[in-house]
Amino acid sequence: MANAAGVTIDEVLRVAELANLDLTSEEVPRMQRDLNAILGHIAELNELDTTGVPAMSQVGEMLGTAAELTGASLRVDAVQPSLNRAAVMASAPESDGRFFKVPKVIER
């Protein structure tokens, strides 16, 4: 596909940064090897001419029936009961019961 030379170490590190993943020094070359193996297989898609073929993002688009039958309908915009706040906050690693607490966001 776009890069016949394959994914470089720098690209693995850049993608890991985009994905908020810290990779260990052992993981980086292994991920590079695996990504290149998988992308090599994915490159078979280039055998197909898809000019003019619409992109499919949901199954319902292909069925040509009413949206509600294919699960594409929207609910009525009305106030509904929601989850109990105390139960939700109890799952948080750190909370004051009202808010999620996190480490400092901006260094001053």
Binding site: L45, V53, A55, G71, S91
Partner: protein, 481 residues
């Protein structure tokens, strides 16, 4: 009562008649799980958590209904298990991942509420590949599941625990999820029935998402009739899942009464290539001959884009996973890495510690496919090929009423056999991913054992929302065994 040969109808009849109680049935199954599922038994490891308090309260409720002479629902007293990617209040939800260790979800999945409303007793949460990513259950952060038929072999994945537990008689039915084959493949490996309903047929509210345009919930059972019963309970619109369909729910058990004579069965040439194990090929050909003998018209068909299904799937599924799994960041639930000084470092350290290798690999692949400069070459290209794969099925279903094919290229493989080579592991899904991408329904039905005693499965695929025809064909195959 002999566990392992139980069916939904037998349990319901026994509980309704007073021959046994829902409580006794639950206790018997818990005793079997205690004896066989753990390290002191066969170490099958199909359950990650037992939900005894909730199960015994539900069983007591059922027994009180029986005592009062109330009308009894269809799954009355039936012991079931659910894959640990579904939420249930009172039990931890891990998705097979360290990043959710200890997470107690604050709400029930809709399918959990539907099962209990139908009288089922949910025994616990089943082991699975981490975030449902895998074909062998070896990606569970809590250790693998063993195949009950051959303890040195995998049960398949990602719903390996759900399949193994039904095969071992730990529960009568179970729920799994299928994104690229994760119900049908373990069903084939474990010798049980596993159904992928049409996309939109069953609510996914309370399912921890992997790839949202593909993820589906579906049942495992010991026989086709029970799978039909389960589907009838689970199917239907849910206001909490905008992607669930309003299409009326069928009479799936009633449909089984109709004979299959006159149905047109398609046999796709692309599913019978060189990689197919000869014993599986012979078993499927025998099943097709049986359908012919029952009056079906058997037609050779072509699904010409089949070979592109795996590469298409691994772009779309990983792209969607990279977005879905961004929510696991140490803020709202689950693991948070220790002493990070900044928010950004906390995200990265949490995700590094919490995710296993396969999950990281897929997040990286998906992020790469969606990143600037590669989006059109990978993601958009895969979406276009997904259209071609779906058109293959729509064209085929204008000529045939159901498609019969293998589920897997081989029977269950040995633990560790494919863990070092992700591409080899991905190719395990070669006969299952196309139906996932197209959104059609599919089912794996046992079709005999290999000479070495390993179960084999045959796949029946049906039109969108035509589970009735698919189930009729599946029953005819089962009956002919």
């Amino acid at each position: 009562m002999s566990l392992g040969s139980m069916t939904i109808d037998l349990i319901r009849t026994a509980v309704a008649s007073g021959a046994t109680t829902a409580t006794a049935v639950a206790e018997q199954h818990y005793a079997k799980i205690a004896a066989e599922d753990g390290p002191d038994g066969k170490n099958i490891h199909s359950f990650l958590a037992l939900s005894k308090d909730r199960a015994l309260a539900q069983a007591a409720k059922i027994d009180a209904m029986v005592a009062k002479g109330d009308a009894l629902p269809v799954l009355v007293g039936v012991p079931v298990g659910i894959k640990d990617v579904l939420t249930m209040v009172g039990s931890p939800a891990t998705a097979g991942s360290k990043i959710l260790q200890g997470y107690m979800p604050p709400y029930d999945a809709t399918v959990v509420q539907r099962l209990e409303a139908a009288g089922a007793v949910i025994l616990g949460k089943m082991n699975c590949d981490e975030f449902a990513m895998g074909s062998s259950n070896e990606n569970s952060a809590y250790g693998p599941v063993l195949n009950p038929w051959a303890l040195d072999r995998v049960p398949g994945g990602s719903s390996g625990g759900s399949a193994a537990a039904v095969a071992a008689g730990f529960c009568v039915a179970s729920l799994g999820t299928d994104t690229g084959g994760s119900i049908r493949q373990p069903a084939a490996f474990c010798g049980v029935v596993g159904m992928l309903p049409t996309y939109g047929r069953i609510s996914r509210y309370g399912l921890i998402a992997f790839a949202s345009s593909l993820d589906r919930v579906g049942p495992f059972a010991t026989n086709v009739r029970d799978a039909a019963t389960m589907l009838g309970v689970l199917a239907g619109k849910d206001v909490l899942d905008a992607t669930s369909s309003e299409r009326p729910v069928g009479d799936y058990v009633g449909a089984l009464e109709k004979p299959v004579g006159g149905l047109r069965i398609g046999v796709p040439a692309e599913y019978f290539g060189d990689g197919l194990d000869p014993e599986i090929r012979a078993a499927i050909e025998k099943a097709i001959d049986g359908l012919h003998a029952s009056g079906c018209e058997v037609k050779q068909i072509s699904l010409p884009h089949t070979k592109y299904a795996i590469p298409t799937y691994y772009v779309i599924a990983t792209a969607e996973a990279s977005a879905n799994l961004s929510r696991f960041d140490g803020v709202r639930f689950g693991l948070r890495a220790g002493e990070a000084k900044t928010l950004s470092a906390m995200y990265r350290e949490t995700r590094d510690q919490g995710f296993g290798a396969e999950v990281k690999r897929r997040i990286l692949l998906g992020t790469y496919a969606l990143s600037a400069g590669y989006y059109d070459a990978y993601y958009r290209k895969a979406q276009q090929v997904r259209t071609l794969l779906t058109r293959d099925f729509l064209a085929a279903f204008s000529e045939v009423d159901a498609i019969v094919a293998p589920v897997t290229p081989t029977p269950a493989f040995k633990l560790g056999a494919k863990t070092d080579d992700p591409v080899q592991m991905y190719l395990e899904d070669i006969y299952s991913v196309a139906a996932s991408l197209a959104g059609i329904c599919g089912i794996s039905v046992p079709c005999g054992d290999t000479a070495a005693g390993l179960p084999m499965g045959v796949q029946v695929m049906g039109r969108h929302f035509d589970e009735e025809t698919m189930l009729r064909v599946a029953l005819a195959i089962e009956t002919a065994q």
